[in-house]
């Protein structure tokens, strides 16, 4: 009887300590995460412009967005197009870089540093840099193109070429996915590749039937992270093009920002945020579902 009393006293003490250590996050969660999430859901059902109190409109915001807002659809189009084009390219390039770095080359750490360095520079600085590089008249992109006889477009002011410019910008940050691929590659036991070679497989077959399947969890991880990230691209769109020309680079989050903080239509902006969240969830879920077919986990 004594033992059980002391035991439960100790457990209660430990539970108290647990929540004590957890308390910063608990407080932060209620104030800055949980509370705002609920508030934002409610706001998305209201008309609110900061100056007057919110007015309940039910699903009115969502209805207007879907049926009466061409810019909403445009921003979805721009963001989806960008995502669909940029991510496969990015994964391909970072995987190739990881494969190269995985060969036994001396100076590996130098190359790794150089390939990761661009992604250390983020946000506004990178956007400004690219804004200068893609300058129609004096930027080096068009200069380098002119060296091979190509007359480069006015990238950032051309409705067709502005998204390719954004895609090129995203490829520059191949560092993080490359590092993750590299770690994944180094986790593949050499035994598997050697066995395959002994069984008569050539280099390509080893790649497709051993390396890639063993890498598939890492590919899945990178894929999901990149999708979640590219749906929320904001800084280059805001800093460089402000959505232009003619809304051909109107990324979703930029439109959301404009809706909520320029036009003060905060109810509708909250609705946009929730639509974004649901979209990301759907995409992630769909990819997870499909992953059962192509992702191979070690047993």
């Amino acid at each position: 009887m004594q033992k059980r009393k002391i035991h439960s006293k100790l457990l209660r003490k430990e539970a108290l300590e647990c929540y004590l250590f957890m308390s910063p996050w608990l407080v932060g969660f209620i104030l800055f995460i949980g509370g705002p999430i609920i508030a934002s859901l409610i706001l998305s059902l209201c008309k609110y412009d900061i100056l007057s109190s919110p007015k309940f409109v039910g699903l009115g915001n969502y209805w207007t967005l879907f049926t009466d807002d061409p810019l909403f659809w445009q921003s979805l189009r721009v963001t989806s197009l960008y995502t669909i084009l940029a991510i496969p390219l990015l994964l391909l390039i970072s995987l190739s870089a990881a494969l190269l770095l995985n060969q036994k080359v001396s100076g590996l750490s130098w190359f790794r540093t150089i390939y990761y360095l661009p992604s250390v520079i983020t946000g506004v600085v990178v956007a400004l840099m690219w804004m200068w590089i893609f300058d129609g008249k004096f930027g080096i992109m068009n200069y380098l193109l002119s060296l091979i006889g190509v007359d480069g477009p006015v990238w950032l002011f051309d409705k067709f070429w502005v998204l390719p410019a954004f895609i090129i910008m995203s490829l520059w940050a191949l560092g993080p996915p490359m590092i993750i691929f590299l770690a994944g590659l180094q986790g593949i036991p050499r035994v598997l590749q050697e066995v395959a070679i002994i069984d008569g497989a050539n280099k390509w077959q080893v790649f497709w039937n051993v390396t890639i399947p063993m890498l598939s969890p890492v590919i899945l991880f990178n894929l999901i992270i990149q999708i979640v990230y590219s749906f929320q691209v904001f800084i280059p769109a805001y800093v460089i093009t402000e959505g232009g020309p003619a809304n051909s680079s109107l990324f979703y989050t930029l439109y959301l920002y404009r809706m909520g903080f320029r036009w003060l239509r905060m109810g509708r902006a909250s609705a946009m945020a929730w639509i974004l969240f649901v979209l990301i969830l759907i995409c992630t879920f769909a990819i997870f579902r499909s992953s059962a077919r192509w992702v191979y986990y070690e047993k």
Binding site: E14, C18, Y19, L20, F21, M22, P24, W25, L26, V27, G28, F29, L31, F32, I33, P36, I37, A39, S40, A97, L100, L101, V105, F111, R112, I114, Y115, L117, V120, I121, T122, G123, V124, V125, L128, M129, M131, W132, K137, F138, I140, Y143, S146, W172, I179, I180, A183, V218, V228, Q232, F234, I235, V239, T253, G260, S270, A273, W274, L276, I280
Partner: protein
């Protein structure tokens, strides 16, 4: 096979290996150049007088190296102020982040309580929620608190847990520390907090370093938060302040813009160079280990 055939095959294989090495090195070096050209171009532009930036074909090495572009950034805009603001916000936020994240991670990793795992998964799931969902209510909250146009919205949330990613990283790392350490500390009479301070934390230096680095990079480069919360130029951080060079006149003042950008990115690059191991460690800690 005769020894002559064998040596011929060996020589062929040797050739193949050499060619393979050349190709690999070649591609790697070509890639390196492609990646570094933008940075060289930035540096080159930052050392030119303004007129020289607007010529075609562009010059790589300016004939007058204008070092005082760098000092001019301080006179054109309150650049030093922006730098100071960035330093203030970043250091206080990072300190708060490290302290609170490690406390919370310790609770998830070592201390037992009913509902602990529920809160852990709750925390993980918040990682998936875009900031845009919360930003409008957050703006309203900070407006009611009269915290708008101060640094408080950029700092306080990070003293209260902050980024779930960092908590997750530390929790995973804490779990790799053998429980025997905690037990022997307890036998020696240490309470929970002392065990945490004197044993767990010192053993967690790599993970703590990773958190400091990631947190530093995030706050130093944070643009969206300052954009929403800061409205007067004297409060601007570097990312916001840099835009001043872009928007002041009809065309951006390219040379000053690039000089300012380089000064803005220098801390990040320096931190990166001195702490590379922790970068790789940090990313793989969360990505792959179970």
């Amino acid at each position: 096979m005769s020894w002559r055939d064998r040596s011929r095959r060996n020589r062929r294989n040797q050739w193949r290996r050499v060619i393979r090495k050349i190709v690999i090195y070649g591609v790697l070096i070509l890639g390196s150049f492609t990646l570094l050209i933008p940075i060289f171009w930035m540096i080159s532009t930052s050392l030119k007088p303004f007129e020289q930036t607007l010529i075609f074909p562009p010059r790589w090495i300016p004939d007058i190296i204008k070092w005082d572009n760098y000092s001019e950034t301080f006179t054109y805009l309150p650049f030093l102020l922006y730098y100071r603001n960035s330093i203030i916000v970043t250091t206080t936020a990072v300190i708060g982040q490290v302290i609170s994240a490690s406390l919370v991670a310790f609770s998830f990793a070592r201390l037992r309580a009913r509902g602990r795992d529920f809160f852990f998964f709750l925390m993980l799931s918040t990682m998936m929620i875009p900031i845009y969902v919360r930003i409008i209510p957050l703006y309203i909250i900070f407006k009611q608190l009269h915290w708008l146009n101060t640094f408080k919205p950029l700092i306080v949330p990070y003293w209260l847990g902050g980024a779930a990613f960092n908590i997750f990283l530390l929790r995973q790392f804490f779990r790799t520390i053998p429980i025997e350490i905690d037990e022997s500390a307890k036998i020696d009479g240490c309470g929970t907090f002392r065990t945490y301070c004197q044993f767990i934390l010192p053993l967690s230096k790599p993970a703590l370093a990773a958190v400091i680095i990631f947190s530093f990079m995030f706050h130093w480069n944070n643009f969206f938060g300052p954009l929403i919360y800061l409205s007067s130029a004297d409060k601007f951080t570097l990312p916001l302040g840099l835009l001043g060079f872009k928007d002041m006149y009809y065309t951006p003042i390219w040379n000053l813009l690039m000089a300012g950008s380089i000064m803005a990115l220098l801390p990040c690059v320096l931190v990166f160079f001195f702490t590379q191991r922790y970068f790789v460690q940090g990313i793989t800690l969360t990505g792959l280990k179970r």
